[in-house]
């Protein structure tokens, strides 16, 4: 399984902080995004945001990055700390 985490507005708008996805269904971060987005109009709307960022195993990544069983992937908006 791939553990998928959501933060800030993304978490709030989806109404959940995490989900698990069968790794055999997706091979890249973009596949994972599309797989989740296809669930419903709400997921489509939140995950289609072009400002959405993705991290794989706690390092910032891009939409071509491979994902595999056991990975932790996070989707979140641009960061605003400091």
């Amino acid at each position: 399984m791939i553990k998928v985490l959501f933060f800030a507005q993304v978490r709030e708008r989806l109404g959940q902080a995490s989900v698990e996805v069968d790794a055999s269904q997706v091979s890249t971060t973009e596949d994972l995004r599309q797989h989740l987005a296809s669930q419903s109009e709400k997921w489509q709307l939140v995950l289609a945001n072009d400002q959405l960022l993705v991290a794989v195993n706690q390092a910032i990544s891009n939409w071509q990055s491979p994902v595999a069983d056991g990975d932790e992937v996070a989707f979140f908006p641009p960061v605003t700390g400091g």
Binding site: L5, F7, A8, Q9, E12, Q51, A55, Q58, A59, I60, A74, F76, P77, P78, V79, T80, G81, G82
Partner: protein
């Protein structure tokens, strides 16, 4: 030293810790606070969310990059998370070096990259509503200046 914590920090204690190194001829510190207005809207509370694990890894990476760039002695980065109120301290950066140039530059570098790369998110609240703070192009531009 990197700390992500709910509780407040004591800048005197943090300063004394940096100051204890007798090779340090210069210490520069930065404190970020919750202010009363943002983008023209009144602010009374601020809640900080973060990505535990990735946050610490990114801050460590930024410190490593600063140390590759300048001859630094000690570096302290503290960032608070959870609910904060008007006037509260949010973030502390402290840097010591033999000379002031490196300390000034590294302190600014650390906060510029913390703001654009570390996974923290601010939820601002006023009497009537709460909203997530938008990332600012100006912060991105400041960080990009270091790469030129």
């Amino acid at each position: 030293m990197i700390r992500v914590q709910i509780q407040d920090f004591d800048i005197t204690a943090e300063y004394n810790q940096l100051s204890g190194n007798n090779s340090a001829g210069a210490i520069v510190t930065f404190v970020g606070k919750v202010r009363d207005m943002n983008d023209g809207k009144p602010v009374s509370t601020l809640t900080l969310e973060h990505y535990p694990g990735m946050t610490e890894a990114v801050l460590q990476q930024i410190e490593t990059e600063a140390r590759e760039r300048w001859p630094l002695l000690d570096v302290t980065i503290i960032h608070r998370v959870g609910p904060l109120e008007l006037g509260d301290q949010i973030v502390y950066i402290g840097v010591s070096s033999a000379h002031r140039g490196a300390a000034f530059d590294a302190c600014e570098y650390l906060i510029d990259f913390l703001k654009t790369r570390a996974p923290f998110w601010k939820l601002e609240g006023s009497e009537h509503e709460k909203h997530w703070v938008e990332a600012k192009d100006a912060d991105q531009q400041r960080a990009e200046m270091w790469q030129e």
